[in-house]
């Protein structure tokens, strides 16, 4: 790896970090939000430069590097963050009196930590990055500073920290597996993958279980998802979008790293069965809780649980479904962006996220309501949007590999979720508007600042749905190839 590429990666990490330091030290609440797009735009540009070079990049000590999986996830989080940063400028202008020093600073720190997690090739460093995302996002969830957001933040912070501590135990077990197997003890991913065949089985399996529970908690697999509806429900919409689209992808990447290790140790069968069980359980839980859900932001959280389950199923059956899962990761992130940002606009207009109070959004905030409706159709896998293609590919993989029971359950739960979400979304969009709302935001109308971003994201998933460009296809295929089991 030459010097320039090295600098590129350093810049990618330092840019949001310096932005964060600047945000904390800047006195003006009015100017501070502008830092977000100012950091996010070059971040995306740098990301494109990084993913463009076809060779795998690694720094000298091998701690930081870009492999096909990072190439997939890095642009996803960078793009999502860019969208959210432009939305944030408009959002924070509405709430200028509320202050935004911590909010902006933590957002940028969050981006920096997510970036580090995607490009780290050392399990210890990956752990530090994922834990930093927890710490940096807790103040974001607490932004509204009321009792409910307090409760959500406390649960998120405590559960997240304990979960990640379990992941650390898992990492230590993996290292011990190397020691007991007589290999050179290292937590560098390539070293582990190289020696994994000789690793001591009991320790490796125990390590896998702890990593699955620890990072699975961050991903939000059922039954470890309990923090998710609370956090997504109480956080501002743009934070919900970043958590549901960005953080879950990063945590899922951590799980994929674990899977790579298990594959290298020829323990793929056990690992994939565990993924399948977690995936089916997540979809089932989501189906149960999404039906008659009275709160539309919590509903989105359960939808996130569902889609993490879909990803896990796609990975576990392998073959073409792995490709589908990789594509679905992109689609899920962008669609969640549309849904959370549109939901945030509707929430603001009605001053409530309960279906009982927020009805008939189409007559009051027509554009946001339309986006919300189309986002719902997209996320539940209706054509012509991109999640249809990826879910269909996963399903095709499930059936072609002979998992008929899994496929049947998968389709059944998807149908239940479609109906369950549908009844909530339709009453929010088309119901009879309540007499009065009394929240102080009656004057809120759809503006360019609050609707342009979800609109562009919706267009993106529409375009990806009708035409999958070759570079995107290659990125997904390369990432999927990395996860294929080699006999």
């Amino acid at each position: 790896m030459n010097n320039m590429e090295n600098n590129l990666l350093a810049l990618l990490l330092l840019l949001p970090f310096c932005g964060s330091v600047l945000a904390f030290s800047m006195p003006s609440d009015r100017l501070r939000p502008l830092l977000l797009p100012l950091c996010a735009t070059p971040h995306l540009a740098l990301t494109f430069l990084v993913i463009q070079s076809g060779r795998p990049l690694t720094t000298a000590n091998g701690w930081i590097g870009v492999d096909p999986l990072s190439r997939l996830i890095l642009p996803v989080i960078s793009l999502l963050f860019l969208g959210c940063s432009f939305y944030a400028v408009g959002y924070l202008r509405c709430r200028i009196a509320w202050g935004n020093r911590t909010f902006v600073g933590c957002l940028l720190l969050f981006l920096s930590a997510m970036t580090l997690a995607t490009i780290s090739r050392h399990l210890g460093l990956l752990w530090v990055a994922v834990e930093t995302t927890t710490v940096a996002s807790a103040p974001l969830i607490y932004y509204n500073r009321n009792r409910l957001s307090m409760e959500a933040t406390w649960k998120y912070l405590l559960l997240g920290s304990v979960g990640i501590a379990l992941a650390m135990l898992g990492i230590l077990f993996i290292a011990y597996a190397g020691l007991a197997g007589g290999e050179h003890v290292s937590l560098q991913l390539d070293d582990i993958l190289h020696g994994a065949a000789n690793y001591s089985r009991p320790w490796l399996r125990a390590g896998f279980v702890f990593l699955l529970v620890g990072f699975g908690l961050k991903v939000g697999f059922a039954p470890l998802h309990t923090w998710k509806p609370d956090a997504y429900g109480e956080a501002p919409g743009l934070v919900g979008a970043l958590l549901a689209g960005g953080l879950t992808s990063v945590a899922f990447l951590a799980l994929l790293r674990t899977l790579q290790i298990m594959d290298a140790a020829s323990e793929a069968v056990m690992a994939r069965e565990a993924f399948l069980a977690m995936g089916l359980l997540s979809i089932a839980f989501a189906a149960v809780f999404v039906v008659r859900q009275p709160d539309f932001k919590r509903m989105l959280a359960y939808s996130s649980v569902e889609h993490m389950g879909i990803l896990a199923i796609g990975i576990s059956v392998g073959g073409i479904a792995t490709f589908g899962a990789m594509l679905h990761l992109i689609n899920n992130a962008l669609t969640k962006g549309v849904l959370f940002l549109a939901a945030a606009n509707i929430h603001r207009r009605f001053g409530s996220k309960k279906v009982a109070d927020a009805r008939g959004a189409i007559s009051l905030v027509p554009l946001s309501a339309t986006l919300f409706l189309l986002g719902f159709l997209a996320i539940t896998g209706s054509p012509p949007f991109a999640p249809f293609i990826s879910e269909f590919t996963i399903l095709q993989g499930v059936f072609s590999n002979g998992h008929f029971v899994t496929g049947g359950l998968f389709l059944f739960f998807l149908a239940v979720i479609f109906i369950g979400m549908g009844s909530t979304v339709l009453s929010v969009v088309f119901g009879t508007p309540p007499e009065k709302t009394g929240t102080g935001y009656e004057n809120y109308r759809d503006t360019f600042a609050t609707t342009a971003v979800p609109l562009i994201m919706l267009l993106l998933i529409f375009v990806l749905g009708v035409y999958l460009p070759d570079p995107v296809r290659h990125i997904c295929a390369d990432a999927a190839a990395l996860l294929e089991v080699r006999p």
């Binding site: 050392h122 752990w127 834990e131 103040p139 409760e151 406390w154 920290s161 003890v185 009991p202």
Partner: protein
């Protein structure tokens, strides 16, 4: 050296029991700080003096023994809370559970496929027992601060287990882990302050509005 090491590890277990049985928050924090201080000596005793162990020991001492307890003391001073009353599981039952867990940890670690050099090591059973203690505190206490202490003790357990593997953990990563712990506790104490201001108590029982 080894005798001292064993003595210290047994002391860690005694402190675990003290934590499970004590209701005074100040002494709980002091005990956690003391435990953190002891842990910071472990790298030196187990692996001898080197740049790596000295650095790790001093960072661990500064954070686990001084900075984090300071943050926690500041939190209880601000909120005027002295005691944990009515834990979810009483003190005697938690002590009994703690004893069972500790005994279990010793029996279990005897059966683990450890490498020969570690088969007599106390790091594994003490680490597991400390993990169990932290977990017990997390689930049996109501106050936000005791839950945070439970998390810290849980982390201490992992730190003890990690002593078997110091060569795998580069210094930068190790310091990152400890720094994350510090910042995590910092955010928790801020939140405790807010919870107390909002509800006039630090009981997390009040945090039950969000459910299906």
């Amino acid at each position: 050296m080894d005798t001292l090491l064993h003595l210290l590890l047994l002391l860690v277990i005694l402190l675990n029991f003290f934590l499970l049985g004590s209701s005074r928050l100040a002494s709980c924090i002091r005990t956690t700080a003391f435990q953190g201080g002891i842990l910071s000596l472990l790298p030196l005793l187990a692996h001898g003096f080197s740049g790596h162990t000295l650095f790790l020991a001093s960072v661990a001492f500064l954070l686990k023994g001084i900075a984090i307890p300071y943050l926690l003391f500041r939190a209880i001073r601000q909120v005027h809370i002295r005691r944990e009353v009515e834990p979810l599981i009483g003190y005697v039952p938690t002590l009994i559970l703690g004893t069972l867990a500790t005994a279990g940890a010793f029996i279990f670690s005897g059966r683990l496929p450890l490498i020969p050099e570690h088969s007599q090591s106390l790091f594994v059973p003490v680490g597991l027992a400390t993990l169990a203690t932290g977990f017990l505190m997390l689930i049996s206490r109501r106050k936000a601060i005791t839950q945070a202490l439970g998390y810290l003790i849980f982390e201490n357990g992992i730190f003890i287990f990690g002593m078997l593997l110091t060569e795998a953990m580069p210094l930068m990563v190790e310091s990152g882990v400890l720094l994350d712990l510090l910042v995590g506790v910092f955010v928790m104490t801020i939140l405790m302050h807010q919870i107390n201001r909002e509800f006039s108590t630090m009981n997390t029982d009040n945090l039950t509005s969000l459910k299906e």
